[in-house]
Symmetry: C2
Subunit: 336 residues, 2 copies
């Protein structure tokens, strides 16, 4: 990324913006003033609420340029935000992209980041309405704001779960964490895990189906891992959670990577960040609504536990035929 | 800022968010889900377009912690965005705050940054709807997204000027640039200039009056200085500009600081960034509309030139009774 080839130091901010602009499709009709003015002007969708989210990826904290290709940096920076929009049951519409770039960044890396970003934006029909580019004496930082829209009665939050609600997770967990560990170890044979780490697929469709069918009582994404998300959902909803260890979906490649290294696969997978699955709860009597979401989501939705009167978040294992509950350790905490 | 006192390394991200939350007023009714979920949920204003802008301040690029107090960092990071909203004729409503923080940042500095930001937000009735906090191995970076609203027919853009339109600037230019030079020189006696640099006042009211009265044909803010703004407005509108040197408002303290150092006060003031005044154009036959804006703006609005069929942006000086035009040198370019 910090190559010896032509660097962006030779370009002006407006030339960099022009390189981004060139990769964007025709703006939608709702974008009345696009890139190039003091601000973007957009027409809000009628009868929809807006969901706003912002997330930054910092080189050396959220990715490592030594093993993350530029297009994956761009893809991930947008994907983490789309995942937040998905967790609210909303449809992503617009993005603002703020880049802080070291002047030694190569033009090829810049173009790669932009192409990863614009490819995912095009695929999910998100318009890049504007942004900002500045140099930084520090690490490459990609900060993206996404605006989505949702009908009022379809908003999903973290706080609606009640004791007795059933806990579900989309897809499988831990693959991205295993992929990151593989990349760090220089071992990327298990390409499905590496791919999951580099190019996560935010679960936009799952979130939309859960919102539209009003199937979920609470929802959160797994950006900091299952364990952290479980604690946050429990706190926000003021419930406890009992998670059944055997039910948590961990794919074979992930399980085998962790197990052969002597780690407990569930603990390792639950502590790993970078999974962009959704964790959600369903009222038992509304399970029928979930069936429709399951049918159309194309992603498995797995029952992994139940909400309790709380407040503990525990994982239940069968040991010698007896159910044994242990605290579910929290994940990632940024500043400790 | 990077003090020996208690640092944020001891705190978690949620504790930092709680320190911000504690300084915020009660959220407005339009904020349906605020800080603490995957995204904020807001109700868009009816019959208004939205204006979106994002801008980042990076330590060592846009400010210097050695002479910029924490509350000024927070104030300026929001002010630069409010200035962009003002330049579009819009009213700022919501902000998302994304902070990338070195772990050695002191808790006092963190609180100071937050208090500068929240004080300006409260004064301008902007709600902080959400944000993100991450650590960075690099410089303190404050990235803010602001959403404003404006009626469709009141949007101001850079691109509406025509030959013959008259060019105006709000307030006076160069004071912030002089203030920055004073701080760098360790000479801060001229406190009005230093104050202008540290705590700029975005011209929200001026922008709103220009939009509401439909007085301006084009508008841009002076974040990168008068010279750069003049070129950008001219390019976007496909006109030239003739700026009358004697008309450009430069206050006495600014003029004297530059002059006693042997600099041409106009060139120095026009090249200096960090002025958050507005540069705008008015159709000659619509000058009456401007009168109402002048009456209510409380800030002087000064005629400084005229739009030509272009494309040159020149400054006209009277030399020995003759008008002499010289190119107006461009300002700030980020990556060269």
């Amino acid at each position: 990324v910090l190559g010896s080839a032509a660097t962006i130091a030779e370009l002006t901010e407006r030339e960099l913006i022009a390189r981004i602009h060139a990769r964007l499709p025709r703006p939608p009709a709702c974008l009345i003033v696009g890139i190039g003015d003091d601000g973007a002007v957009v027409e809000a969708e009628r009868n929809r609420l807006q969901v706003l989210t912002v997330d930054a990826l910092v080189d050396g904290v959220h990715f490592d340029t030594s093993f993350t290709p530029p297009d994956a940096i761009g893809h991930r920076a947008l994907a983490v935000n789309l995942s937040d929009i998905a967790a609210m049951g909303a449809e992503p519409r617009l993005a603002l992209v703020s880049l802080a770039l070291p002047v030694a960044l190569s033009c090829d890396a810049f173009d790669g980041i932009v192409s990863g970003l614009t490819a995912l934006a095009a695929r999910e029909r998100v318009s890049i309405a504007g942004g900002n580019i500045t140099r930084t004496p520090g690490p490459l930082t990609v900060d993206i704001t996404v605006i989505g829209t949702v009908k009022r009665r379809q908003v999903l939050t973290r706080s609606g779960a009640r004791p007795g609600d059933v806990l579900y997770v989309s897809g499988a967990i831990g693959a991205a964490g295993a992929g990151l560990a593989m990349l760090r170890a220089g071992d990327s044979r298990e390409s499905s895990c590496v791919e999951r780490y580099l190019f996560p697929n935010p679960r936009i469709r799952v979130g939309l189906l859960l919102g539209r069918n009003r199937a979920a009582s609470a929802c959160i994404d797994l950006s900091d891992g299952l364990a952290e998300a479980a604690h946050q959902l429990a706190e926000a909803s003021n419930v406890g959670l009992t998670i059944e260890a055997e039910s948590v979906p961990i794919d074979a490649a992930t399980r085998s990577w962790f197990s052969t290294r002597g780690a407990d696969a569930l603990n390792a997978a639950a502590a790993a960040g970078d999974d962009y699955e959704l964790l959600f709860t369903v009222r038992p009597r509304l399970r029928g609504r979930l069936a429709a979401a399951v049918r159309h989501s194309q992603i498995p939705l797995t029952r992994i536990g139940v909400c309790t009167s709380g407040p503990d978040v525990v994982v239940r294992r069968e040991i010698d035929g007896r159910a044994v509950d242990a605290p579910f350790p929290r994940g990632f905490a940024h500043f400790r």
